[in-house]
Amino acid sequence: MPVVKIDKKYLNSLIKVKLDDEHLKDQISKLGLEVEELSKDHVDIELSAARPDLLSPVGIARALRYFMHKSSKFHYGLDGKTPEMSISVSESVNKVRPYIAGAVVKGVKLDDVSLAQLMSFSDKFCDTFGRRRKKIAIGIHDLESIRSKELSYSLSKDRKFRALNYSKEESFSHLLKTNKKGIDYGESIENGLSGYPVLEDSEGVLALIPIINSERTKVTKATKSLFVDVTGNSEYAVEKSMAMLSAMFSDMGAKVYPVASVYKDSKKINPAMESRYISIELDMIYNSLGVRFDYRAAISLANKMGYEAAAVGKKIRFSVPEYRIDVINEQDIIEDMAVAYGYDYIQPVGLPNYNPGSLESTTTRNRSVEELMAGMGFMQEMNSYLSSEPVNYGNMGIKQPKGEAVTVSNSVNASISMIRTWLLPSLMNNLSKSQHERMPHRLFELDMAFRVASGKVSEHYHLAAVISDPKANLNDIKAVIEELMYANRIKYTVSKSTHGSFIEGRCGEIKVGGKSIGFFGELHPEVLSSFSIDEPVSAFEIDMEELGIY
């Protein structure tokens, strides 16, 4: 989850209440956020993925003010009704990035700190909620450098423009290949690209969307008015994000005016600042939290989380603030009530036991087999399920049967490409790491092995054991199988077999009821050498699901 570094002085100026360090940290953590570090000048906060409105210092300050009952402004409107500007949206963007919303913001006061925090918020928001700008991207321009009231948003052919912080003009294609943001975010528009999404005024390109703005409309400390755009592939997310930005600029002391987006068949005015209402019965809150509130307490807790609330019949009606993109339904509000109340104050309440507990039959079976193996002097090993073709097959002297293994396509580790199909390679690795330990080495593992057959995965418990000492031979391991079978009263037969991992003539197949369930034998010297094992090894492995013990 993202961590934001916030200038403490700036945050305090937004909260407008004097808080000492301890108090600040305490309030932030009560909101459900984590203070990573608190220094003289900065507070580093680990943010929640769930609340994009808390990605900015402005949003955090707003939430803290509610939490301390210092704010009772629950609604955000606009400062004008008629659109100040309009964006005509060409159908050509439909396949790439169909939606755009704009807003005009006047009377902003920016300094080095607030400008940096604004830009860093925008990046964090587009990276997280905006899914690396694929879903949402924000553009912020100096309004006074825009030459016309009518803008256009369309797909353009490759052209040149002077991008932000560039001294000369570069082509769109060049920027996508060489600019850091072009490289990082280019893929969000490159899919089947037949042109470049561009926002323009009468003079030319304002932005290559969602990559980079123009140098002409660069925002600086001196900027007084802004043009803000939000683009994306979900109309809902675009409009909600715009509403959230609008509330943020209002809280920064600026005035926000609407902009029209003119599509082929419709016209949308943004920011759309309409409150949603969700009503919840008090009983439902009690039945979720186990804490009973009366109307007054419930309303006060709601206010603490920034909801305006009122009692309506048996219900509480919550007004969901415009910037709370994350609230889907009443379940989200109930969580906020729990946060406002404080998890520490929820008293644990026990539940009755109506049904008896039970273990799976594989658990009880495995426990008895483990006891038996330990009783025969075998130490239990636990190994990773993840493996690779060389370990699972090559080192064991066998060819990989086509399509047998569950394989993965995107491992970040060269040593992982599949899940193991058997346990013996893992135990050989254990022996290899035991070379300097006192003999004898008797090891077993009872755990899962995975195979694919006709498009389905079988996940079976296997039992494998190895004996390594200067005199280890086939009969030592056969004696173990004999005891395992006798203790479980299982009749089995063995027949001569060949297996790439074992010495020819020293390998047997184990059958129960005529069905092959495993094998045993003396490991081939080539296999021992590929694991750097210096002493002879005998081993067996059986498929527990075929064994018939329950």
Binding site: S288, G290, Q331, V349, Y354, G357, V408, N410, V412, S426
Partner: protein, 495 residues
């Protein structure tokens, strides 16, 4: 003189001198007893002891890692060989260690913010570093013996904390002195004393009327290694028994799943960052897996499209993945249980139903000697009417109390629960609260039924971490528990 001392002294009087193996064999005493007797005789001035001294080296965890992948400085040297690298780009701990050593060994220098290779560095590149050769030999060697000529190199590895060196003194030969010969002649071993009792003595009762020679109870003996269950398996079994005692029924489910059960059914939108290919292993054989319940698929599609406003894609849900949490098992079960409850609402099923599962999960992360890509999780669910956060906290507090761990809860976000809570346990190893797992009340979008009819409490938490919470267990990292030689298992504590 003790009987053993007399016996050894007599042997030496005959032989003049002998090594340990000879004395063991002829005296019929154990090695520890012979050594004890020789020490006593040495103290009295009756024997001279000649020792053979050597060093025995063993790799530390860091040493093992370097033996496998090479020293940080040699890896760094290979990287800078052509063009040099910027010092700012060297951020990781290992890169910084590497740079320090390159400077120290004068194999590279820093100039104008760039690390540049020196002429000594270029020639060092031609061969494996001598330290690496030694590390490999120690790691491959059976006893880790080291030649005296390598002492200096070995000391430098020890200073870097890559090897532990133990001086070993072995007795080569014991020789009798003049005083010893005199003492031997004038002493007589108690002829009537019995050493090892045997079958013949018992049968003939020849032990009657004789004295049993005494053992030295302080003699050092070697441990009799026990074969045992793995410490992690012991922990898993303990947790299963705790659930059992609290009326939970054990369930399990597949590790290879269609993304549907791991993500979609748990209300994670298809563009959710946790589904990013970087975090999850994508399976390419079999590439897709079927989702049997068409009606439930329809419900989930509708919930996603209504709440997240996007077009839900069944193909993305069929993609097979290695589960990134065992909550997929809970999710399958909740769906089955809710269907069953709805089918006979005449209270045949007694609520609450309590379930748990324990299994492996997989994360596509870089592995090293501290980090693994698969480990265990336990997952619990309670299905009932009007289940509250107060019930959830009570259940978790009880489970962990039986493991000796106190809990506290904090608000947290998981897409499939609301309200959500993380729980933390107090670790006496780090003296701080450590995150153990996540919990909450399942969203109705997951259960497919309104919360005022059926509610579901759910949680999931790592298992290995339980072992890391207390100093007594002596476990330092999760990865330490897996892929070990027999030595690790012999050294683990039993729970």
């Amino acid at each position: 003189m003790h009987n053993y001392e007399i016996r050894i002294l007599h042997l030496l009087e005959k032989a003049g001198s002998a090594d340990l193996a000879e004395l063991e064999e002829r005296s019929k005493l154990g090695r520890d007893q012979v050594l004890w007797a020789l020490n006593g005789l040495f103290g009295k001035g009756f024997v001279k002891l000649n020792y053979n001294e050597r060093s025995k080296a063993a790799l530390t965890a860091e040493g093992k890692a370097y033996a496998e992948k090479g020293l940080p400085e040699s890896r760094l040297l290979r990287r800078i060989s052509d063009s040099g690298v910027k010092t700012d780009s060297l951020r990781s701990n290992e890169e910084r260690i590497g740079l320090q050593w390159l400077m120290k060994k004068r194999l590279a220098s820093v100039d104008n913010g760039m690390v540049k290779i020196s002429s000594a560095g270029i020639s060092a590149l031609k061969n494996e570093f001598p330290e690496e050769q030694l590390l490999k030999r120690i790691s491959g060697g059976r006893h880790g013996s080291v030649n005296p000529s390598e002492k200096e190199l070995l000391d430098s590895l020890k200073k870097r904390g890559l090897v532990d060196i133990e001086g070993v003194r072995e007795l080569e030969k014991a020789e009798i002195t003049e005083d010893g010969i005199r003492a031997s002649k004038s002493s007589d071993e108690g002829k009537d004393e019995i050493g090892n009792l045997d079958r013949e003595m018992l049968a003939k009762m020849s032990w009657k009327g004789k004295r049993f020679s005494e053992y030295d109870l302080s003699a050092k003996v070697e441990r009799n290694y026990a074969a045992k269950k793995h410490i992690l398996k012991q922990t898993i079994d303990r947790i299963k028994d705790i659930y059992l005692s609290m009326g939970f029924q054990e369930i399990s489910g597949p590790a290879v799943e269609p993304a549907f059960w791991v993500f979609d059914s748990l209300f994670m939108p298809q563009d959710h960052p946790a589904r990013d290919k970087q975090d999850s292993f994508m399976v390419n054989n079999p590439k897709e897996l079927e989702i049997a319940d068409k009606e439930y698929v329809r419900q989930i599609k509708e919930a996603h499209e209504k709440s997240w406003r996007y077009s839900w894609d069944i193909d993305k849900a069929r993609q097979s993945v290695l589960r990134t949490h065992t909550t997929s098992v809970s999710s399958r079960f909740i769906h089955q249980a809710v269907t069953r409850i709805l089918a006979n609402e005449d209270e045949n099923l007694k609520l609450p139903i309590k379930m748990f599962s324990i299994g492996r999960l997989f994360r596509n992360e870089n592995i090293d000697y501290r980090h693994l890509a698969d480990f265990y999780q336990h997952d619990g669910i309670i299905i009932g009417k009007d289940l509250t956060m107060a019930n959830l906290f009570d259940t978790l507090i009880n489970i962990y109390a039986k493991l000796g761990i106190g809990l506290k809860f904090k608000p947290a976000y998981f897409p499939f629960v609301e309200p959500g809570a993380e729980f933390y346990g107090y670790s006496d190893v780090t003296d701080e609260w450590v995150e153990l797992g996540g919990s909450g009340i399942m969203r109705s979008e997951v259960t497919g039924i309104a919360r005022n009819r059926i509610s579901v409490l759910a949680w999931g938490a790592g298992i290995e971490r339980v072992l890391l919470m207390s100093k007594r267990n002596g476990i330092k990292s999760i990865a330490e528990l897996y892929n070990n030689g027999i030595g690790f298992a012999r050294e683990t504590k039993v729970l």
